[in-house]
Each structure stands twice: as structure tokens, then as C-alpha cells.
């Protein structure tokens, strides 16, 4: 989902930890090292990595191309080859029949069945182009806050893992407890109160 979409979903994060020096270079380095790899015409079924916000199919992080004012803007791209189960089954059945005919047997061993399945899957992966899903990331470095333009659980988990690998910083998701703790600037006594509150009964 993109910043430019007419309607967006946003999951908010607090960035935990600090980069001490050469911030832009360090971030550019993390983005470059974990740039999405092209898996078309390869047997790989799935790839996850960073891409450029403005050129999601030609990722490039040189200079300060991902810096917009006080924000770092880039995207998480998840490429996946969607193989329909029915196509997989059809080609598996044809290939299994061919192998049985060649060997003169009317059965395949468990190992042979697995080999046939892998062979068919790999052949399909080589032919099918990956479907890209792109989710924008907006990082306000000074405020240690980050917006991820998706509420999808799987996409958020990929973001958290890749972010930690790329920058050695962790992402703390904003939800009621973390928002109360981070946004409300509570004193110690108020923090104790927060730990002890229980649900309100609005009706008796």
C-alpha cells in the first residue's frame, strides 16, 4: 500500500535504539544490503527486501535518494510466485505417470513422489513471474517513529524481522499499552497506576 493511495492503512511503530554516527550512510547501507532480489526465472518461490519508494522495480539507495525532509521513505517489497494448487496437481499427475511408464512400474516410492513434486514446482517457479506486493515505510528518525502502510499481520512481521536485520534496531508496535507508555509522558506514579488499572464498567 502506498503513500499515494486514496485510502491507506497504517501500523505505527516506535524505533528502539539509536544509530550514533553517519546515520544516512548506515541506513543506505542497510537498505542496499537487504534490497529485494529478482527471483524471476529462478526456482525461488518468494523474496522479501527493501525497494525504493519512487522506483519500486529499480531499487536504488545511493546518496540521499530515500531522504525526504525529516523522513526516510522507502518500501518493503514481498514478491511471491502464486502457483495454483490445481495446476501443480495436474502437472504432478502427468509427470508421475510419465515416470511410472518409463520405469515400467505402477507405483512411485515416497522419495520419488517428493522428487516429482519438487521438479514440477521448480519448473513452474522458473516460468511464473513473481507477484510483487509493495508497502511503504516512513521513518521519522528524530522522533524514533515509523509508519508502515499496512495492517496485514504477515507483512508487519516481515517488516519487523527485516528492519532488525538491516539496521540492528528493533521496532516496537504501537498498541494501547505501548501508546500509553510512550505518548503520555507519564510520571513514575502514573506508570504504576497504569499497571494497576482494570476495565471500567460503564453500566452497572
Amino acid at each position: 500500500m502506498s503513500i499515494s493511495s486514496s485510502k491507506v492503512s497504517i501500523t505505527q511503530y516506535n524505533v528502539q535504539g539509536k544509530l550514533n554516527s553517519q546515520i544516512i550512510d548506515t541506513i543506505a547501507d542497510g537498505l542496499t544490503k537487504h534490497t529485494i532480489a529478482d527471483i524471476d526465472q529462478q526456482v525461488l518461490e518468494r523474496a522479501v527486501g527493501w525497494t525504493s519508494f519512487d522506483k519500486p522495480f529499480q531499487p536504488e539507495f545511493s546518496g540521499s535518494s530515500f531522504v525526504y525532509g525529516n523522513y526516510f521513505v522507502f518500501s518493503l517489497r514481498i514478491d511471491k510466485k502464486n502457483i495454483a494448487a490445481k495446476i501443480l496437481k495436474k502437472l504432478y499427475t502427468i509427470e508421475a505417470a510419465r515416470r511410472m511408464s518409463e520405469s515400467g512400474r505402477d507405483y512411485l516410492s515416497k522419495t520419488e513422489k517428493k522428487l516429482v513434486k519438487d521438479h514440477v514446482q521448480n519448473a513452474l517457479c522458473l516460468r511464473i513471474p513473481a507477484t510483487p506486493n509493495i508497502y511503504d515505510v516512513v521513518w521519522n528518525f528524530e522522533e524514533s517513529s515509523l509508519w508502515f502502510f499496512s495492517n496485514l499481520k504477515a507483512a508487519n512481521e516481515e517488516l519487523e524481522t527485516l528492519f532488525s536485520k538491516s539496521f540492528r534496531l528493533s521496532l516496537l508496535r504501537i498498541f494501547p499499552y505501548t501508546a500509553a507508555d510512550i505518548y503520555s509522558n507519564l510520571k513514575d506514579s502514573q506508570r504504576d497506576e497504569l499497571l494497576n488499572i482494570s476495565p471500567t464498567q460503564f453500566v452497572k
Binding site: T11, G69, V73, Y177, A179, A180, Y183, L186, P199, V203
Partner: protein, 175 residues
Amino acid sequence: MLDIAVAYNRYKFLGEEFLTWLWYIIEKNQNLLKSFDQNFVALEVGNRIVFENRRKESAERITIKGEGAGLEEGVLALKNGALVTELNMVYRSAELVWQFTLKGESLNISSLSIPQTDLPESDEDLEGYVLEKLFLYDKSLQFLKNLFAHFVKLRISNDWQGKEIATIRKWIQSS
């Protein structure tokens, strides 16, 4: 800080109480909202409000959809002990309008639309275009952030038990 998974489940109710309180504020105390935005015009219930009643043996969920939909059923749900779990809102500031849905348990934002901006005509315009978009996203997120921070301070204060709950109860019963 508490373990994250524990904290998420333990404090779901805080987000849902926030939305329930916010519905009351929208209906009865727009003046309070002015203190969070100099150019504040209005905050209104949008096209969707979801209630959940966990006091019943099997949690009951009620969704009210549609622009200007009657909220009588919602009030009835509150009277039966439900809380607001998702709220779609229209936020007006100066001459601009935002609309979004906020989910109580996660504070996730969905269906967020911001005021329209001009598309960039060249690569040179891109930075200005992005910054304008980010400013507009930030405006609505800051508003919600400040509102939530205000609610949390109220929620853990003596005023919550002493005053606010009684006022909200009165509103629920009289609606």
C-alpha cells in the same frame, strides 16, 4: 515494560474504552477537542462503528454501517455493556477533511483518506508532493496521539472514577 504479547492482550480494553469515551466526547464535548488543534472544526462519527459485548458468555458483535446510519442500536449495545471496538471518524480542520477507522485493541488505522493534493508534474516536484502527503498524514496521527495521551492521563486519574464515568453513564442512560 511488560512483555509485549501479555501487554497487548491485557490492555486491549484500554483502546476500547478510549473509543467508547471518544464517542461520548464526539457527541457531547466537542469543545475539549479544540484544545488539540488550533484549526479544529469537528470530529464526527463516520460510516462504521463496531461494538463488542464480552460480558455475555459468547462475545456479541454489532456493526453499524453507512453514512448517517442511526446509532440507536449502538446506544442499546452500550446499555447492555458493550464497548466500541472500531470507530470510523471524519476529522475536519480548517477547510480540510480526513476520514479513518481506528481499531481499539491495536490502535491500527485503516481506510485513512487525507485531503487531496496535486500530483507531481515532474521528478523535481516529487519531494514536495511526498512532504505534503506526510504532513497531512502526520496531522491526523498527531491529533489521535494527543487525544489518546489525554485520555490515558484522565483514565489513570481520580477524575475518571470520581467524575467521568458518572457523566458517561448518565449519557448512556439518557440517550
